[in-house]
Amino acid sequence: ACQPYQTIAEGEQRVYEWRMVTHQIPGTARYEGTIREFAKAVEEISNGRLIIEPFGADILFPTNESFDMVKNGVVEIAAVYTGFWTGKDPVFALGGGTIPGDPINGFEEHFYRSDQLKPIIDEAYEKHGIQNLGAFDYAPEEVLISRVPIRSIEDFRGKNIRAAGVASLYYSKLGASAISLSAPEIYTGLQLGTVEAAEFNDYLVNGEMGLDEVTKYVIEPALHVGPSTDKELIVNPNAWEELPEDLKAALYVARDKIRYESAIAYGVENQKAKQEWMENPDIEFIQLPEEDVEKMREEAFELLNNYKTKSEASKEYVEEYAKVLADLGYLEEAKILGYED
């Protein structure tokens, strides 16, 4: 119930009401465990002075419109995967840490990278008039599932693979046909042979969608993406400027809480889910030969090196990423990307 009259002194207890959008669907772990928890945390930390009302995928507008809608203030805040706005600047294809050939492991390395690369992404957003608050929640590495055995780099040639985003570029590069099936069609697509293989998400989420029922092979490692950020937080700059400093801080604190909790929840739950997949007698895990993995990583990094020519920001991003790899001890990989000590 709204109060009809302002009874509290001006400027002292103003309540800010924000609308928040995301690409995740209400009812799923990736929504309930992060978006709702975030809104709750912000309300608690701010003593009810910042109220965030969340909206699930496509409820207010199509997800890939979130960028423009945050920009023009239709909503104040969004937690969305950056890959939805690669059309605005190629750097956003990589912005969530969705990097083909990525050798890094686990959430600690991932969030280290996110924070190191944040200034570049900040600037890319700023150019479009959007305030970036950085990585929100953790997404473990994805998997490649298949109906047919893929045992070497040659086996990718001529396969129909459901893939989206950078992954579709990557699998095309390996000679496969990347097919755009929407998420709900993946199950039947694999079942009926519309596609032979598919990337979608990690073991946990794929399992929730029942994809294990139509999987015969898991191809490891899946080089199209490593650990990444499921969503990044972006804010309308006017809304941001209006906030008192303590509420700005509250948003960062709540963000970090979600980072931590999602890292535990998804990192560990995904491990448990993987165990179940491995114990499934109908699923064979195929380990690609070491030399093929090497070749595939080179192909991936070639794709990545190409990004250097796509925009100023993506050039900076790849270069800075190479430094991060070196920091983390992946010196060989860093050098392929042009890192020099």
Binding site: N64, D68, G83, F84, W85, T86, G87, K88, D89, P90, A93, H128, G158, K159, N160, A164, G165, V166, S168, L169, S172, K173, S177, A178, I179, S180
Partner: protein, 165 residues
Amino acid sequence: MKPIIKGIDSLSSIAGKISGYLIIPLTLVMIYTIIMRRIFSNSPDWGFEVSIFIFGISILLAGADVLRLKGHVAVDIIYAHLSERWGRIMYTFSLLIIIVVCSFLLFKGMEVAVESTRILEHSSHQSSFNPQIWWFKWFIPIGGLLLWLQAWAEIYKVWREGEQE
């Protein structure tokens, strides 16, 4: 006034024709994609986005001609109970509503298209095709403008030609 109305009518009609015949390339693109995928395992990377372009353009271009042909479904039970004069007034009100909606579509759509053109926006579907899509966004204000014009033409017809539902 007459030639202007005729002009608007034929503009809508041409847009409607383009919209209609686009279904032929749409069908062919989809069939080609299926064949290339099933038989040659080599589906074109442009199949997905080209189909989307054709469909989107077709919907946006069709709106005005559908209005000209009185094809936008309405629940017109009220007209049976109205005098001819009130029928005209109601139909005019209907068209004014369309004009208001299309004004927003025109101006807001233009803003969106201009911004998209400024950054030479590319597709966000991220296929390896990765086409520019700023030109596709222009069909939003274009579709709005065509409908806006046609609605005015219809108002003219209601009062000057005695044409009425």
